[in-house]
Every structure is written in C-alpha cells, then in structure tokens.
C-alpha cells in the first residue's frame, strides 16, 4: 500500500539578494517517514524547514503540506508541529501550562486538552516536571518540553531542528524512542541534524544540502556505500603546517582544513596508509598530533556530496 505524501516541495527557490538560500529544491516526504536533512552551516537546511511549514515566502516553486499551501491555509498549519533549535517555550510558565497554551493555540478543543498535554508529557517523559517553571529546568529537560510542545496537538508533519543538541545519552535515547514511536504513528518527520548517530538511527532517507541545493538524497546505508564503498575516513592533525607534507597527504586523497593543520579524506586500506603517512612525516620531521581511522561521518558524506555534485572529485 502506498503511503500518502505529506510534504511536497517542487522547485522551491528563495534568494536573499544575490545569495540563493534555496535553489530549485524538490523534496517529498511521506507519512511515517523520517527524512534527515544534513549539510554545513548556512547550507539552507533551516531555510528549507521554514519554507516547508509556510513561514518563508518562496520566490519560485511551491510547497504543499497534505496538498495545501501552508503559507495560506490555516487548517493545514494545524497539521504541522515544529521544534526549533531554540527552546521555543514561555520560560515563566510551567511545563504543563506551556503545553496547554500551545495545544490551545493549535486548536485542540478544551475538553481534549488535558489528555493531549498528559500524553505529550508521557511520550517525552517529562510528566514528573509538569508543575515546574521552564526557566527552572536544565537544558536537557527544556529540550524534551520543546519537543512535547511540537507534538501536543498530534501533527501529521513534524519538523525537528537539532532536537538532540546538547543532550545526555539517556535523554537522547528517550528522544530516539519517541521519534521512532511517532514514525509508527504515521507522522512524517523532517529532521535537521548534525548528529551522525541521530541520522544513522532515525533516518529513513537523508538529503545533503549545500548552497541552497539538495545535492544528493537516499537511504543512509545506500548513500554511505555509494559515497565511500569500503573506504574509511583517515584524519591527520599536525602540530604545524608545512609545504613539505602537502604533497604527501594530498597524493593520498586527503584534503586540508584549519589552515593546513588538519587533513582528512576517505581512503582504501586506511591502516596501511596511516602507517605510511606516519613514516613519511617522521622523515620530513613534522610532528604528528593525531592520526585517526574511523568510519566516514556526516562531514565526510557532506564533502563527498558536494564534490560529486560539482564533479571535482570522484568517490
């Protein structure tokens, strides 16, 4: 059975002056699907999220949520929940008062509000703090309540901007379970995250943004395989930048950052390469700060997506 498309962006375009914040973005998100949007700072992720909920006028293209324009249709806006990166709560109200206010604003009838608030608190495991003022809570608790406020009216599209930022592992796990449960309730979730674990655990599909464009998208595992094959990420950090090491590192496909102090890239047979690099650097008398080998992360994926889209470097 095919799933209903909840969010549909077609050629969504928006510029600020000469700077393209969104550049002909096409995106579809179906019910019960978690779509993770990743990219560097300023890549256009938050702009896309704002466009998706109708908070940003497009220069061209269209946005539809459940077939309607969220910028114009008030009814469809009720079907959207948003948890911004900031703690978007009233600090002087208690947890329960905040959730009650947002439920009322979202149009939840008075008779259903108490149960809606109780359910949201239960799902985000914050019922024990129901009577506490938000400004008295720690950042982890606030983030739970921030999410509870986004789901208290049971939206069909949920936009989460860095929902696990600054959370301890326990709270992160709670939120992972919650998001998984919401997916089970057929809620479509647009997840903006820098966290590799969030993306790996939660996302059904990943889209990589750069300069307002959606460079690539696909299932996380498929995308990683396509990007890196059997490659591993190799990271080299130097105590000082030196022209003599540039050819050594660049010839192995590593790219510099941090003014030449840091080099990274995905390579085949990373352990052998690491050993050869260590010897070569000792030979030219450059001190090594760090030499690490690990599975490619989001940064590597973003880098790959950008390079492959511009055709500068192959995988």
């Amino acid at each position: 059975m095919s799933r209903q498309v909840v969010l549909h962006l077609a050629k969504a375009t928006r510029s600020y002056g000469n700077q393209a914040a969104l550049d002909h973005v096409d995106l579809e998100l179906a019910e019960g699907e978690v779509y993770a949007l990743i990219g560097r700072n300023g890549a256009g992720k938050s702009t896309l999220a704002k466009a998706a909920i109708g908070a940003l006028a497009l220069d061209a293209g269209s946005v539809r949520v459940l077939g309607a324009d969220p910028g114009r249709d008030r009814n469809v806006r009720r079907e959207i929940g948003v948890a911004p990166q900031e703690i978007a709560l009233y600090p002087h109200l208690t947890v329960a008062e905040n959730l009650d206010a947002f439920a009322a604003l979202a149009g939840v009838p008075r008779t259903e509000r108490v149960s809606a608030v109780a359910r949201a608190m239960e799902e985000t495991v914050c019922a024990e703090r129901a009577g506490e003022r938000v400004d008295h809570l720690s950042s982890g608790w606030r983030r739970r309540v921030n999410l509870a406020a986004a789901i208290v009216h049971r939206p069909r599209l949920l936009v989460l901007d860095e929902p696990t930022e600054g959370l301890d592992p326990e709270t992160r796990l709670i939120l992972h379970r919650l998001i998984d449960g919401l997916r089970g309730d057929r809620i479509a979730i647009l997840l903006i995250s820098h966290n590799a674990e969030d993306v790996a655990v939660l996302a059904d599909r990943v889209g990589v943004m750069e300069n307002g464009r959606l460079m690539v998208e696909g299932r996380p595992a498929e995308l990683m395989a396509q990007a890196f094959g059997g490659r591993t990420e190799l990271v080299v950090r130097l105590s000082a930048a030196s022209p003599s090491v540039e050819s050594i590192l660049a010839s192995r496909g590593l790219a510099p950052s941090d003014r030449g102090l840091s080099w990274s890239g995905t390579v085949l047979d990373a352990v052998t390469q690491a050993s050869e690099i260590e010897m070569a650097l000792r030979w030219v008398d450059v001190e090594l700060r760090e030499l690490a080998v690990h599975p490619p992360g989001l940064d590597a994926l973003i880098g790959w997506a950008t390079r492959s889209a511009t055709g500068s470097v192959g995988a």
Partner: protein
C-alpha cells in the same frame, strides 16, 4: 590599555546609531521643547488665549481692548457676559479672561481678571499685560485716574490732609487697576498631572510588554505561534487586550492615589473616566505593538521607543502644562495621544462633562489604537521567519 578601552567604547557608540540619537539628538530636542515652554513663560511671552467682557463700552475700554489685542497677538476674544466668559475659561476655550466693569478713569479697580485655578500663570500674564498696556498705551488715562484719586486731597489744606489720612497718606499705594478673581473648582492641575503622568507611563509599560514580541521571535516561539490556528491575529490580539487591561489597572492605581491623597474626584464621573482610561491604554498598546513589530531587536526597540515617547510626552503636555507652550507647540500637541488623554481626563473629572472634546478624544485615541494594531498586524503578517 586605557586608550584601547576608550577606542572600544567610542567605536561602540559610533556604530550604535540609535544610541547616538539618544545621546546627542534627544536631549537638545527635549531642551527645545522646555525652552519654548519656560523661555516664553519667564519672558512674559506666553501665548495666552484670553476672553473679555466689556460692560462699559467707553472710548477708554475700547482703547484698552485694542491695546491688549495687539499685545496678545489677536488671541483676545469678546464674550457677551461674565457667565459666558467663565464657561469659556472652564471649558478650556480661553485660558483666562478680563471683565471691564467700571469707568476706567475713576473706579478704583475697574478690571477683574478671571483666573482658572489650574492656569494661574495665564492670569498673571494677563494682569501684567493689562498693567503694561495701561502704562504704555493709555498714559493719559493713568493721569486722569491719578487726578481723580488726588482730587479730593488737593482741595484740602495740608493740616486737613494730615488729620484725614495720617502721616502716611503721601506714601499710600493707589488701588490696583486690575484685580484677580480665582474661579471656583478645586485644583484641576492635579487632574492635569494625573492624566499627564498616567499616559507617560502607560506608553513605557505597554512598550515593555510589547517587546515580548521581539523575545518570541528570538526564541523561535514566533515560528511555533505562526502555526497556531488563527495565525498572527490572535497572537497580537491577545497581547493588545492584555496591555490595554494592564494600562487601565495602572491608570486606576495612579488616580486612586490622586483621589485618596489629593482629593482628585475620581468617583465623580467614574464611567467616563473608565472609558478614557480604556482608550488611553489601548492607544498606548497599539503604538507600542507597532514599534515592537517594526523593530528587529530589543536593542533597536528600546532607544526608538524611548526617543518617541519622550518627544511625544514633551510636546503633548506630559512634562509641562500645555497652556504655557507657544501656540505652535500647543497645536502640534493635538497630534499626540498625550494631549487628548489630558484634555479628556480634565473634562470628565474636573468639569464633570462628556463634551465634544471628550468624544473627540475617545475617537482619536481609539484611532491610534486601531492604527497601531493594524500596523503591527501588517508588519508581523508580512514577516516570514
């Protein structure tokens, strides 16, 4: 180190445009308003609007009126009788008035200056203008008055004079040409200042509350609120109602203190007072919301509102009585909510009236409220986050 800090601070101010305006533009502007008010007051050049009743209609009285007309730059209006003139002063159509009630040449005090208890300065100015007019423009009249005063004395021998009047007769002062009569009605200046202070602080209170709009934007709350079923309108509408209610309570507390401590007759016309308070609070809320909606940050809104509210207060009469101001400034005052609030409170509490001025004030204040609210709605509605 000291020079470095000096440079850092100087650059900070130089790049803070609003701060520059507050530091260098606002003080001179407020000074100009005060200088116009008190500079004119101390030089005796107040733009007093006076009324006159000429019960004599003699050549002397007509000449005196002509002279005063010139000295008051045409702001002297004739009234048919004393009652009409008193009504005009009470309703604010005239600041003060004079009644020519006896032959100017031989009545000891032929002129009575009617003084509004809340505008004593206007009475003083008019009295001074009358004395100057008589001395400078009607010297022959003064001579005749002196002759008339001394005539009975001149017919006596020095011994008779001494016996009749005592040794001090030669030094006795002549009776004043014009005497003042304070009109009844308590102290309306207290009502003036209650209204003036009330609207001044209503504005600041409303701005403080309205700036939560900016906080909500910064905290991402606006994004969430924008998804609410009614959109921006209920978000702003709820805030408008709250700020209006808060303003009414604040005004009530202030007038309660004035009533208990200074016998301001709050209960005399409570319903009309309440209507004025609601209109004043709504106007403040509307203006504050419009400013908050137009500003991106608190740092922007704070100086902009302080600048606007202080100028409005100075021009509108919250800082110095309007009747002391030059006529141009008084006219400008009608563009501010402050003037309307002050006039409405004075009318409903001191005069116990709901007259045309009060109805006009309610209409104007409601228009300020509606215009401010609609502007805020328009700006916030267009603002995509």
């Amino acid at each position: 180190m000291i020079l470095v800090m000096l440079r850092v601070m100087a650059l900070g101010l130089w790049r803070d445009r609003a701060g520059l305006v507050l530091v260098f533009v606002l003080p001179p502007l407020v000074f100009i308003v005060f200088a116009s008010v008190f500079g004119a007051g101390t030089s005796g050049k107040l733009d007093v609007r006076a009324g006159v009743v000429d019960q004599i209609d003699s050549a002397d009285s007509r000449q005196l009126i002509q002279s005063l007309q010139r000295r008051l730059s045409g702001r002297l209006t004739g009234w048919p009788d004393v009652v009409a003139l008193e009504d005009a002063i009470e309703s604010g159509q005239a600041d003060t008035g004079l009644v020519l009630q006896g032959d100017l040449a031989d009545t000891p005090t032929p002129v009575t200056v009617l003084v509004h208890p809340g505008r004593k300065a206007a009475g003083e100015v008019l009295t001074a203008q009358i004395d100057t007019a008589v001395e400078e423009d009607l010297p022959e009249l003064m001579l005749r008055r002196e002759v008339a005063r001394l005539d009975p004395i001149l017919a006596l021998t020095p011994d008779q004079v001494r016996r009749a009047t005592g040794a001090q007769f030669g030094h006795a002062s002549p009776p004043p040409f014009a005497a003042q009569r304070i009109l009844p009605g308590g102290n309306p200046l207290l009502i003036y200042y209650a209204g003036a202070v009330s609207i001044l602080f209503l504005m600041f209170t409303a701005m403080q509350g309205a700036m939560s709009l900016i906080d909500e934007r910064r905290a991402g709350l606006r994004l969430r609120l924008g998804l609410s079923s009614g959109g921006v309108a209920p978000v702003l509408g709820g805030r408008m109602l709250w700020l209006t209610a808060l303003g009414v309570i604040q005004a009530f507390v202030l007038f309660l203190v004035a009533a208990v401590g200074y016998r301001v007759p709050l209960l005399a016309n409570l319903a009309a007072w309440a209507a004025t308070a609601v209109c004043a609070a709504a106007a403040s809320a509307g203006i504050a919301l419009a400013i908050a909606a137009a500003c991106h940050t608190r740092e922007q809104a704070q100086p902009v509102s302080t600048f606007a509210f202080l100028i409005l207060a100075a021009v509108g009469g919250s800082m110095a009585p309007r009747f002391l101001m030059p006529e141009a400034l008084q006219t400008l005052g009608w563009l501010t909510p402050h003037t309307w609030v002050i006039e409405a409170y004075q009318a409903v509490l001191w005069r116990g009236l709901v007259n045309t001025t009060v109805i006009q004030a309610w209409t104007v204040l409601s228009s300020f409220a509606a215009a401010g609210f609609l502007a805020a709605l328009w700006i916030e509605g267009r603002r995509r986050l």
